[in-house]
């Protein structure tokens, strides 16, 4: 039996390189001005999956991503690095989903696949909520191991995992099926593989095939792995009330650029009075003492 791994990945605006036109006048993110990238911790999640695939014979990595049709780029990117296949969850009815509606949708998709292991990044850089992974585990009724730094050992029934916590590490064992979220201290993802790049460069989603001027029929028949399937609300059998805007209690009021004011930082010198001040602050805030 193959060891099935689902990696949850999100295409996000690259908020690490924010220019002056990154925000619209109304305070919402100007997605057009920011390049769309593979969410960094999701890429690290993919690496954890690839490391499992290196160790376990007959492991399969399935990418699940939810977003507009262009998010299929994430699946291709993952295929270039060693994933086996992927599904794009896309439907206008998903628009406006918050973490609750997103985790509802993704949980339905994961259920269809029935994996041994679900791996997600800890959080996406556009929302930083870190809620979607844990919510999915909750909805699926499977255990979760958050803040994963490395999968130390793996077999069909059990995983041994090192977690990166604020003040150290913790090693835990957990039965499959389970969901883990991957911390930024985990290994960086391996680069694209030139051979896989050639193998999957013509991989196209169903929506993309409709837009293509070139006829892909023959290629898709000969190489069925190039067809990237899309799942809609109907495919997932989802309750429309529970997704999109109607399933999302979260309302974003405004997005702001946070600028740290001068009053929040202090310049210290090596003089005794400054060192005394620092010691007092550290003790007061229970960092030391």
């Amino acid at each position: 039996m193959s060891f099935k791994i689902v990696v949850l990945a999100k295409q996000v605006p690259d908020t690490r390189n924010v220019g002056k036109d990154a925000m619209k006048a109304d305070g919402t993110v100007n997605r057009g001005a920011l390049p769309a990238i593979f969410n960094p911790e999701d890429l690290q999640a993919l690496e954890q999956a690839l490391m499992v695939k290196d160790q376990v014979e007959d492991a399969e990595i399935i990418i699940l991503t939810m977003g507009p049709p262009r998010a299929v780029e994430i699946i291709r990117e993952a295929l270039y690095r060693g994933a086996t296949s992927g599904y794009l969850i896309t439907d206008r009815k998903f628009a406006g989903s918050d973490t609750l509606a997103t985790s509802y949708t993704l949980a339905l998709a994961v259920k269809k696949i029935q994996p041994h292991l679900v791996i997600a990044g800890r959080q996406a850089i556009d929302g930083d909520t870190a809620q979607v992974g844990p919510q999915i585990a909750q909805k699926l009724g499977i255990p979760q191991v958050t803040y994963t730094e490395q999968i130390l050992d793996v077999n069909l029934d059990e995983l041994k995992i090192r977690r990166r916590l604020e003040r150290g590490v913790e090693v835990v064992k957990c039965k499959t099926p389970l969901l883990i979220t991957v911390h930024s201290s985990a290994a960086e993802c391996r680069p694209r593989n030139a051979k896989l790049l050639m193998k999957y460069k013509h991989a196209r989603s169903v929506s993309e095939l409709q837009e293509e001027s070139k006829d892909y029929t023959e290629m898709m028949t000969n190489k069925p792995y190039l067809r990237l399937e899309e799942w809609s609300v109907a495919d997932l059998g989802a309750d429309e009330e529970a997704l999109g805007l109607s399933g999302s209690p979260t309302k974003v009021k405004k997005i702001e650029n946070v600028v740290l004011a001068k009053k929040e930082s202090v310049n210290l010198t090596t003089e005794d009075k400054d060192i005394d001040y620092l010691m007092k602050e550290l003790i007061d805030s229970h960092v030391i003492g």
């Binding site: 680069p191 593989n193 030139a194 896989l196």
Partner: protein
């Protein structure tokens, strides 16, 4: 200099001439070099401990035999992609690029072009994966620029051949599982043979004491009455032209590769000149330093245009060996000059392994000599334009 800050020079917007596929291949190999080569290469060179484990990872990443069809485990890429792969590898180190050149152009290429179907099926997929390492034996102790006078011989004996002779300056010699060896038969015709590690009478001692390509294995191949089964003879390789075709493919890769070394030296020197202050000014503000940097960029840009056009011609099957000679000669000298100049800009720090420049410079001293020396390539051009051969 950390890898992530490297900014490849592209003064004439050469990227516009590349397809998305080319750029993706380049970025995949660039990332691979940043991850696998950059962190270890200075120490490997200093200690003269070649990172031979990289052969397998290169294979896994599709770096070997990019122009070999997918059926035989290659990537089925065009020649510009092959060039870009070599460029990124040599930005890491000429030793790594040399290992890939040998595997792809000097071992996989002849088996693919001159080999039997059985030889292709037996060796190519495993070479592509890096499970097997190959080396190439043409140069002999007394025959470098003049391989036509080689003394290594094969003679027929029943159902096999007997091989006698020796080869020198062989990249990957002692770690190779198979050696692509060129020897004359009883009629004096150059033939190609696949010699396998462990065959009786075959040894491959390593050459030590190098000041160049210290992250690469170099050595000899010694054949003392080695019994070679008939099935190991490449059926379609006859005459000196066959190994020269291999070298041509490798030289093409070198012409691209050295741009990687030159670009890194230039980028390092430029950065340094904008950080280092003397007389209260950045040294990049002085005319003599600007002259060096401006000339470097000019030469890199010319070299880029040369190989891009050569790659287009090669994709169309219109390139000549003489065109490849010109590009190999011009670009290697360009890279060596840039490495020397960059070393000067960085001053005393330039001689340390804190910067990659001196390592590249020492490597390029080999590259300017191997695969046809700088002078011989000039005479090839001379021969081509006058019709008169000046080297014999």
């Amino acid at each position: 200099m950390t890898a992530s800050t490297y900014k490849p020079p592209d003064y004439y917007l050469m990227d516009e001439l590349l397809s998305d596929e080319h750029k993706m291949i380049r970025s995949s190999v660039r990332d691979w070099v940043n991850r696998e080569v950059k962190p270890i290469i200075e120490e490997a060179s200093q200690l003269n401990e070649p990172p031979t484990h990289l052969m397998e990872t290169m294979g896994e990443n599709g770096i070997f035999g990019p122009f070999i069809p997918e059926k035989y485990g290659g990537a089925g890429l065009d020649y510009i992609s092959y060039g870009l792969i070599m460029q990124e590898l040599e930005r890491g180190d000429s030793a790594i690029r040399s290992a890939a050149s040998v595997q792809s152009s000097l071992v996989m290429f002849p088996i693919y072009i001159f080999g039997s179907d059985a030889q292709k099926a037996q060796f190519l997929p495993r070479l592509a994966k890096g499970e097997l390492t190959g080396c190439f034996g043409l140069t002999e102790p007394n025959h470098g620029s003049d391989p036509g006078n080689m003394i290594t011989r094969i003679r027929e004996k029943g159902d096999h051949f007997i091989l006698d002779g020796a080869k020198l300056w062989i990249t990957n010699s002692s770690i190779a599982d198979i050696a692509m060896v060129w020897a004359k038969d009883e009629k004096g015709v150059v033939r190609g043979l696949i010699v396998e590690k462990g065959m009786e009478g075959f040894s491959a001692p390593e050459t030590h004491d190098k000041w160049s390509l210290r992250a690469s294995v170099t050595g000899e191949l010694v054949f003392d009455g080695v019994k070679i089964p008939r099935k190991n003879l490449l059926p379609k390789a006859k005459g000196l032209r066959s190994p020269l075709m291999c070298l041509n493919s490798a030289r093409y890769g070198i012409a691209w590769g050295v741009i990687g070394a030159a670009s890194e030296c230039y980028d390092t020197a430029l950065r340094y000149s904008l950080q280092r202050k003397q007389f209260d000014r950045f040294i990049g503000s002085f005319q003599l330093q600007q002259k060096k940097l401006a000339e470097m960029l000019t030469e890199i840009t010319k070299a880029q245009l040369l190989v891009w056009r050569l790659g287009e011609l090669k994709n169309q099957g219109k390139e000549t060996a003489q065109m490849v000679s010109m590009a190999k000669r011009n670009n290697v000298k360009m890279a060596l000059d840039i490495a020397r100049e960059a070393r000067q800009i960085i001053g005393a720090m330039g001689i340390t392994s804190n910067y990659p420049v001196m390592r590249h410079m020492m490597n390029l001293e080999s590259v300017i000599t191997y695969e046809g020396t700088h002078d011989i390539h000039l005479l090839i051009t001379g021969h081509d334009i006058t019709g008169i051969q000046a080297f014999k």
